[in-house]
């Protein structure tokens, strides 16, 4: 990548402070804990279901098919500060608590419709929270989950080759081709 373009990508195409871009800008932070200390297989399965509710199967496979739960575990282990790790891990129970309050049962016991309703609610909550959040205040756990889900999915083999179009060696550049709504995006820029 041309490094000029990298700036633009971060500033513009990646949408500034939006999902994923902070990893490119500020980097991931210290973490000493192993995945196994933070998460077990049950957690990964749970995170896969959360991710799959954020990005479900449509005409293309969803986040679970890309094993985004595992990706989240790796990223939280290697790239999050201890503070963010705590927020994230606590967030897994908070999410379940919110679910229990709303539907009287755990997230894993809910059907797809209930899961979606809950996560729409949590997404609104994190959006409101971020509107007034000060830089030194903790991140919202659901924003983390959503960010990691998008980054994990759209850089996965499933996301790149099924949801989008992946051309490893384009061989040429054509500055104008027709586009119609519904055509998938190129997987890389």
């Amino acid at each position: 990548m041309n490094r000029r373009e990298a700036i633009e990508r971060v500033a513009l195409l990646m949408g500034g402070a939006v999902i994923g871009s902070e990893f490119f800008l500020s980097g991931c932070k210290p973490a000493e804990t192993q995945v196994k200390d933070l998460f077990d297989a049950e957690h990964v399965a749970y995170m896969n279901e959360v991710a799959d509710t954020i990005l479900p199967d449509t005409k293309t496979p969803g986040a679970k098919a890309a094993n985004v739960g595992q990706f989240m575990a790796v990223m939280v282990r290697d790239c999050y500060t201890p503070e963010d790790q705590k927020v994230f891990v606590k967030g897994l129970s908070k999410l379940d608590d919110a679910c229990d309050k709303k539907f009287g049962k755990k997230f894993m016991a809910c059907d797809a419709k209930q899961r979606t309703a809950l996560l729409v609610q949590l997404d609104n909550e994190q959006k409101e929270y971020n509107k007034v959040k000060k830089p030194d205040e903790p991140n919202h756990y659901f924003r983390m989950m959503k960010e990691l889900t998008l980054l994990g999915y759209f850089t996965s083999e499933v996301g790149c080759t099924k949801a989008m179009r992946y051309v490893p060696i384009p061989g040429k550049y054509v500055g104008e081709i027709p586009y119609k709504k519904g055509d998938r995006a190129w997987a890389l820029v």
């Binding site: 041309n2 195409l13 989008m164 384009p170 061989g171």
Partner: protein, 559 residues
């Protein structure tokens, strides 16, 4: 002793060092190229170049370990999971910042030629005249006509793609076919031409990516992964271009892990005899001898070597008799500009990943215009459609959200300025004897910053970007002005400037150290001013020119 003697020694293997080695060996000189870092073999060692995004564990993101290991590189986007192995180990090689200074180093064969941005622009004659006209610093000892044939020479071998745009301030070169602008860039360029009545131009970038096969290299495949190393050899680097050419002569010896600690100066002949090398792996010291020595260690490390050399004669080092060694440190200031979105192109897209953008050549302070600062700036930018990472405030989560993000978003365009910094005597680096690197060598301290002229220029850089995007038809235009530290442009220049007088400059018109005429400096250290164009093409041309002079003088026994 005999085994340690060569016709020429080149210190450094980046863009200018590679060129020096190619030119010297092709002229028949047995040449030793010294590189302080490890070897990186073309293609074989480009370990991430052919990986798909999902084959990187963190998908390119930085880990805690990377951030810990790179306290300076972490400041900017340049460091990522895919190219981390190409950047210096900052714990082994610290430096001191009296004022914030971003020094992004790559210690390996090929240096930063593997990582560079590849934008390649000639200077204009007015750039060489500027210091004299403004009465600042010292005059360049050369003019455009001195370097023009060498620009052609460098372009023809390196392979620069570009359009012959006929923009007066930005001389056309010997180009390969240009890359395409996309539809939005084309339309914006046309609108700007009309709006500014031909006084401002938006052109396709001129880049060292070959667009037709050349010298055994495959043309660009539009993968946009240049700085991982290219298995097609499609962008100019030491590995893809100058090193194989030098090796083909049979005259090159490449020695990695070789830290040059000083030039060995002979006060009787007033010339250098050779260099002293500290082996970075064994910590053993060696001496190598040659008639001709090229210092291409990159601007600041070249200054460091000179400061460490001949200190028994000159306490400040070889070249310090002028009082200018280490001074006049420059860069290009940037991280400022504007972005906007384009409407009416929803039925258009593009194919391929173009490792190049558009360029707006300098237009300020020309043709009699006088702003409240001197010199000028150019812009780089591009238009494209937003990706999955865009914000869609009206959507939350779920299937529609996913399907929407799987499609391209709005068209957007950005312009980012690159401004000239002036050569201030007080902007300098020096050796801090109190701090040592892994090998016990004293490190550099940086004491430099941008000043009033640059700060005033930045106001124009930001406002003009907005004005031009709006004139180009973009909507919702927003400016940005991010923190910039000197050095962050990764265009370090100055510290051993060329000039006409040994009392005020370190090098003469042929890049020879005044105080040791067989020592040549042709990396960024030699620059007398910075202009606003990306500098590497000028280093290539100056290097080829200097080697030509060195060898012809050597034959006449003048060197």
């Amino acid at each position: 002793m005999a085994n340690n003697t060569y016709d020429a020694i080149v210190v450094g293997s980046g863009i200018s060092g590679g060129w020096a080695a190619k030119e010297l060996t092709q002229k028949g000189l047995k040449t030793l190229m010294l590189e302080r870092g490890r070897n990186v073999e073309h293609v074989k060692d480009y370990v991430t170049a052919s990986k798909a995004p999902w084959e990187l564990e963190h998908r390119g993101s930085r880990t805690q370990q990377m951030v810990d290991d790179h306290p300076v590189l972490k400041r900017d986007y340049v460091l990522n999971e895919a190219n981390v192995n190409y950047w210096v180990n900052e714990k082994e090689s610290p430096y001191v910042e009296n004022k914030p200074f971003d020094w992004f180093r790559a210690y390996q064969v090929g240096g930063r030629s593997l990582l560079w941005g590849r934008q390649s622009y000639r200077w204009h004659n007015s750039d060489f005249e500027a210091n004299a006209k403004d009465g600042i610093a010292v005059d360049w000892p050369i003019r455009y006509q001195d370097i023009a044939p060498w620009y052609s020479y460098a372009e023809k071998f390196a392979g620069i793609s570009g359009n012959r745009d006929g923009v007066p301030i930005l001389p056309d070169g010997d180009f390969m076919p240009p890359m395409d602008m996309n539809i939005v860039e084309k339309d914006v360029a046309a609108r700007l031409k009309k709006h500014y009545k031909g006084e401002r131009h938006m052109i396709i970038g001129r880049t060292a990516n070959i667009t037709v096969p050349h010298e055994g290299r495959t043309n660009c495949q539009f993968r946009n992964k240049c700085w991982l190393g290219c298995m097609f050899g499609a962008y100019f680097s030491t590995q893809s271009a100058t090193l194989p050419a030098a090796q083909a002569t049979g005259n090159l010896t490449l020695r990695p892990f070789s830290i040059v600690t000083r030039v060995i100066y002979d006060k009787d002949t007033k010339k250098a005899k050779g260099v002293e090398v500290l082996d970075a792996e064994t910590n053993k010291t060696y001496e190598y001898y040659a008639k001709i020595i090229f210092l291409n260690a990159s601007t600041l490390n070249t200054a460091w070597i000179l400061m460490n050399s001949a200190t028994d004669i000159w306490p400040g080092g070889l070249g310090s008799s002028s009082g200018e060694l280490g001074h006049n440190l420059m860069d290009h200031h940037f991280r400022i500009g504007a972005t906007g979105t384009a409407e009416g192109y929803e039925d258009k897209y593009y194919f391929g990943r173009r490792a190049n953008g558009i360029y707006v050549p300098r237009y300020r302070n020309l043709n009699g215009e006088k702003r409240d600062y001197i010199r000028g700036y150019g812009y780089q930018g591009r238009a494209g459609r937003e990706t999955w990472s865009r914000d869609i405030p009206e959507m939350s989560i779920g299937g529609d959200f996913k399907d929407e993000l799987s499609e391209p978003g709005k068209w957007a365009m950005s312009l980012g300025g690159f401004g000239e910094t002036l050569p201030y005597h007080e902007n300098r680096c020096y050796i801090d004897k109190d701090k040592k690197d892994k090998w016990g060598l004293p490190v550099l301290a940086m004491d430099a910053e941008i000043k009033d002229n640059e700060l005033k220029m930045r106001i124009d850089m930001m406002n003009d970007a907005k004005e031009m995007l709006e004139a180009g038809g973009l909507k919702d235009v927003k400016t940005f002005n991010n923190t910039y530290n000197l050095g962050g442009g990764i265009h370090e220049m100055g510290t051993a400037r060329m000039g006409r007088d040994p009392k005020t400059s370190v090098l003469n018109e042929w890049n020879q150290v005044w105080d040791a005429k067989n020592v040549f400096v042709t990396d960024g250290a030699c620059m007398t001013s910075a202009a606003c164009q990306n500098p590497s093409l000028t280093y290539m041309a100056l290097t080829a020119r200097a080697v030509d002079h060195a060898v012809s003088e050597s034959k006449k026994l003048n060197v």
